[in-house]
Amino acid sequence: MMAALAPSPAEVRALFRSFMKAGKRFASYNMREYTKRRVREGFRETQNLQDPGARAQAFAKGKKDLEVVKRQSILYSLYSPPVKSIMELHPSSSSASLAAAAAASSASKSATVSSSS
């Protein structure tokens, strides 16, 4: 139980920063957003813990979870689909301009089809 020393505020801040940095590396939009939200929630929940044992426990769990985030963000980047989520694309690429692009492409497609026939 010697290892269960309560973390210093500096250590907690460092852990938070590492989490945020690791979370940003997720290739998936949803996982990135979730990590951000969940890490903030987790630190907010534990910031008022008084008992050193509970603080140490929360800190240890955080460190373990950080490793999961690090591993999984690498894994996600290895298998990320070639196309991003529409949430990451420029907001101007809304359905209106997309419809125009789709129309143009379907027109050129039918043109090639008809000229080859």
Partner: protein, 491 residues
Amino acid sequence: MANVSNRARPLLGKFFCLARHGLAQRARAAAPLPQTGKVQSLSRTSSLLLRPLSQLQWKYGMGTAAAAAAPVAPAEPSPAIDIKGVNLAGRPLYLDVQATSPVDPRVLDAMLPYFVEQYGNPHSRTHMYGWESEEAVEKARAQVAHLIGANPKEIIFTSGATESNNISIKGVARFYREKKRHLITAQTEHKCVLDSCRFLQQEGFDVTYLPVQKNGLIDLKELEEAIREDTALVSIMAVNNEIGVVQPIKDIGEICRKRKVFFHTDAAQAVGKIPINVNDMKVDLMSISGHKLYGPKGVGALYIRRRPRVRIEAQMSGGGQERGLRSGTVPTPLVVGLGAACEISEQEMERDTAHVKRLQKKLYDGLTSRLKSVVVNGDLEARYPGNLNLSFAYVEGESLLMGLKEVAVSSGSACTSASLEPSYVLRALGVEEDMAHTSIRFGIGRFTAEEEIDRAIEMTVKQVEKLREMSPLWEMVQEGIDLKSIQWSQH
């Protein structure tokens, strides 16, 4: 007009464009207008080809139409995805978590070791590979049991909730067939429950399909009256997959225990999302699905009560795994994933619920404040907040779904999403045909971001307004005509 699909629309536009183009050329040929630059060269090409009824004109006409349409979207990159004839700029935002949920990274992290080095068969008793797999499976069993307040010995692993439902319904009915010949279920159950019951009917069993009230909940009095001397099992789902209503499981459990009838609940959509305790709720059998609670697909669990003991006839014959109730090698990585998903869901339930509730309110308020005639299907109170099933009046559902290609939603259950028939669940609620046709199920989960909800509201409002603008029905309603008073001519 409203049922012209979006896919066909750009093409239709092209035809109109072509027709107009042809007309202009003909006019020009009749009375030549002053022409300059590009227009001149264009008309020269086409005047060369102005041979009525020649195929050439058709061919080149298409070409010029495409050339003319190209400058409309100048710097627009070509759509990145072309799948099933639909062009998308990016992956759609996902609001269909009732169909399936993404795997939680923590779940995948727990599973991966059993996909690589720890590949032992959990039933191998002679070496370490087997032992470590068995240990992992038993840990997962305990995790699943803990989430629902059961004993690990009461959990068996299956391939999913469909299998669990089949084992429960057919297994119980067949085991007690000598004395009990009757089953009770509800009209809004999942297809696999209804189909298992149909199957048993062919074997000579009697089945009562309880109707539901307008809000999707069953009437407890009706249930009590339906129970007979020879009733073997009552099967009512906890959270409905299409409309998200939460049935009064605890009350049903009390009634069944009092009348000494086994109670099975399909809790695929409920476990890990709302608090479930098999002892409080007096549930005798319960189906659990892995991929509905951020776990892997292809794995599920079945809770079978030991005291008072529920006995079932196994469906699968084989090596006698899972106490002989479900033969077949237990898939260690999947089962580990299910266990991890259960444990994480237990830890995250409070946070998830708060998040999902907030987003559901945002989505509901955002849509209803900007659109008129939007109706929630199913009870708004007795509902799992992650499911918002809405009907948009005077909009054709399929057109709306086609228009909302950048939002992954469905009109109901994924199993029946291939058919154009309105959902049988909505019809059981007494939702009118036209409203049942316009339903959309928005699913919100742990990994739904707030911005996604904003974007979904934006796109849905735009699409609904667009479709309503085209709808003659909507126009008539705006003019104050009661649609029900219209005598449509018969063809």
